[in-house]
Amino acid sequence: MIRILHQIFRTGVVTEPLPAGVEAEITVIGARIEEQIRKTFHRSLTIRQVDAGSCNGCELEIHAMNNAVYNCERFGIHFTASPRFADMLLVTGPVSVNMEIALKRTYLATPNPKLVLAVGECACNGGIFGESYASLGRISNVIPVDAHIPGCPPSPIDLLLGILKVIGG
């Protein structure tokens, strides 16, 4: 136990302010965001992540958003296990033919009003997988999409900014 406590105090708080370049942008949108989250989402924005056919690269970065360094919960963003509790769907991958039905059902199971964010190159334009017998390409080919976050994969900062922007309206 003493080791655990020692390690906690040694580590301290590692959570970082967003990088200087984007910090200004954040302060501008920041106030609006907080107000927006308070008003529209009752202080917390709940996200359901859906992998519709991704290579797992985007998932690694979505995980990273939750690590202590980015700590997305400080902005009131958190991830839920069920679409029924979600305000937003974060969808990755080109939509595989075998995931089409599950994605549509997840979309329908999410209560209105809802936001859909297409995350990553493949979600935005089909990426290297394109459209084929097995891949339906971009997310908007299957469900309505409100905003896109490009990148292969987008970094945790790109993800945070993308989310903050879309809820900033």
Partner: protein, 523 residues
């Protein structure tokens, strides 16, 4: 002891003609009449060989029918057995009764290539879902890659357990966490799982077919997205498989840098996994600690190589990045810091009895089961099998820096954590050696595609385990067939076995300790 090669020659004599055009030529290929395909499997089984992969290729553009291939391994020896079957009678004898791993390989071959394993006990399609048209065999040459398939009515026959108190829990494809999609069906009595059946294929994106319409160089980008967490390993696998038949030899510095990136990928993923396993038994402290280490580690990748996961840095002919002296000393400093922090956390993991209580004896895969299933990688090494393709089939710089292979007998979640811990230590040593002795020179040579009808085979030890690639050239400088075997293709079978008798709430931690790829399996 006889080698597999001697065994083949002794048993089949002149029947076994040595297959031409396979590279590296150190891995022999024998063509047999199809009636003997199963006999060869029997002979391999009795020699205690392991089935590495089984696959089919549509060779009609090369003037033949279908090629059925099986790759076997014993110790440091690898060998491919091939039989050719005519396009109008695409049947071959199943080898499933000799090798369990062939169960899904052959279902997949039948589903996607339309070749029929005669005598296979399970005709249910795999990857191909019940709503695909029955005659849709996408890997056949006459199937258009861009064809949209109509959805048809169909059903899947699940394995069902019955009896008093037996109930079923269906999970997925959309899971509770931030993970890839797949479907699991548990049959349970009370808390205890009596059977688990996996249904995969949700993220099938037609990767193998896609290769056939890409150029040889663009293929490396796609290879890097077979499984995003293993982007370096898969890109190396693809590049090595296409470099050998093209007579392309990447410069030494390029190969060393590939190994450097491969070991960095291993460390990053292992750090993430150990943290996530602790999280699944509610010890979130270590999750955040390990993930902080991982975050700093991947940032160094970004600073020095321009990408957090080093995607697209490995290309045919070498690598696109280089390290200067400042980069080398930065990495050496990082290794020293990481190693110290890491060991502190390992001590905490090791000395926590409540953690130990959850991970010991949980999700146990016995050494016998592991051998029968032919598992690879972390899963194999935690269940008593000393398999590591860096040792079994070494290429530079692994011919110099031979990793010590950690082997545990327990086969439980704890053993899979310890294999990862030992491997991080070993990778740190290898990285240090690479950085200290990095040869000078170019990092990349130009690449030009191989002549028609050649094939290349490669093995790479990714962080999950042995990855196998087989690429065949077609006429007019195109890729005729590209076969990918991720470690997950065999290791998924082991999860079904390891879960027996565990309680339902322990499934996440068992699953995480295997951490198999869905995308790499579904392709």
């Amino acid at each position: 002891m006889n080698t597999l090669r001697e065994k083949m020659i002794a048993q089949f004599g002149t029947l076994a003609c040595s297959g031409a055009g396979l590279y590296p030529t150190a891995i022999p290929m024998y063509c047999l009449p199809r009636e003997e395909f199963n006999e060869a499997a029997r002979s391999m089984k009795y020699s205690n060989a392991r089935l590495v992969a089984e696959w089919a290729a549509d060779e009609t553009p090369l003037g033949r029918g279908f090629g059925i291939y099986a790759c076997y391994n014993l110790g440091t020896e690898f060998l491919i057995v091939k039989c050719e079957v005519p396009a109008d009678d695409p049947t071959f004898p199943t080898i499933k009764r000799k090798f369990v791993a062939a169960w899904r390989f052959e279902r997949q071959m039948q589903s996607l290539m339309g070749v029929i394993p005669v005598g296979h006990p399970d005709p249910r399609p795999w990857i191909k879902f019940e709503d695909w048209p029955e005659d849709a065999w996408p890997l056949q040459k006459n199937f258009s890659a861009s064809a949209r398939m109509p959805r048809v009515e169909g059903s899947y026959r699940w394995i069902r357990a019955e009896g008093e108190g037996v109930y079923e829990i269906p999970v997925g494809p959309v899971h509770a966490g931030i993970i890839e999609p797949g479907h699991f069906r548990f049959q349970a009595v009370g808390e205890e799982i009596i059977n688990l059946e996996e249904r995969l294929g949700y993220v099938h994106k037609g990767i193998e077919k896609r290769f056939e319409s890409l150029s040889w160089t663009d293929g490396a980008r796609l290879a890097g997205r077979v499984s995003g967490d293993s982007t370096v390993a898969h890109a190396i696998g693809y590049c090595r498989a296409i470099e050998a038949p093209a007579g392309c030899a990447p410069p030494e510095r390029g190969m060393w840098l590939r190994a450097l990136m491969l070991e960095r990928e291993r460390i990053a993923n292992h750090l993430g996994d150990i943290g996530a396993i602790c999280n699944d038994v509610a010890f979130t402290f270590l999750l955040f600690q390990f993930h902080t280490l991982k975050e700093y580690f991947v940032r160094t990748n970004h600073r020095l190589f321009g990408h957090r996961f080093m995607m697209d840095r490995v290309v045919p002919g070498g690598v696109t990045v280089d390290l200067d002296d400042a980069g080398i000393s930065e990495m050496l400093r990082e290794l020293a810091t990481l190693s110290g922090e890491f060991e502190r956390l390992v001590t905490i993991y090791d000395e926590n009895p409540s953690l130990e209580d959850r991970v010991k004896d949980t999700g146990r895969l016995s050494p016998e089961q592991a051998r029968d299933l032919g598992v690879v990688g972390i899963v194999a090494r935690a269940s008593g099998l000393a398999i590591d393709s860096r040792v079994q089939s070494p290429y530079p710089p692994y011919d110099r820096f031979i990793p010590r292979v950690p082997v545990y007998e327990a086969g439980d979640v704890n053993a899979r954590v310890w294999v990862r811990i030992d491997e991080i230590r070993e990778s740190l040593l290898i990285l240090r050696q690479i950085l200290e002795e990095l040869p000078s020179g170019e990092v990349r040579v130009p690449y030009s595609p191989p002549p028609p009808d050649r094939c290349g085979f490669s093995l790479v030890e990714g962080w999950r385990g042995e990855i196998a690639w087989w690429v065949q050239s077609g006429p007019a400088g195109i890729i005729n067939r590209c076969m990918v075997r991720d470690p997950s293709s065999v290791n998924w079978l082991a999860l079904e076995q390891a879960i027996h008798g565990n309680i339902v709430p322990d499934f996440p931690v068992c699953n995480k300790s295997f951490n198999q790829s869905y995308s790499g399996h579904d392709l």
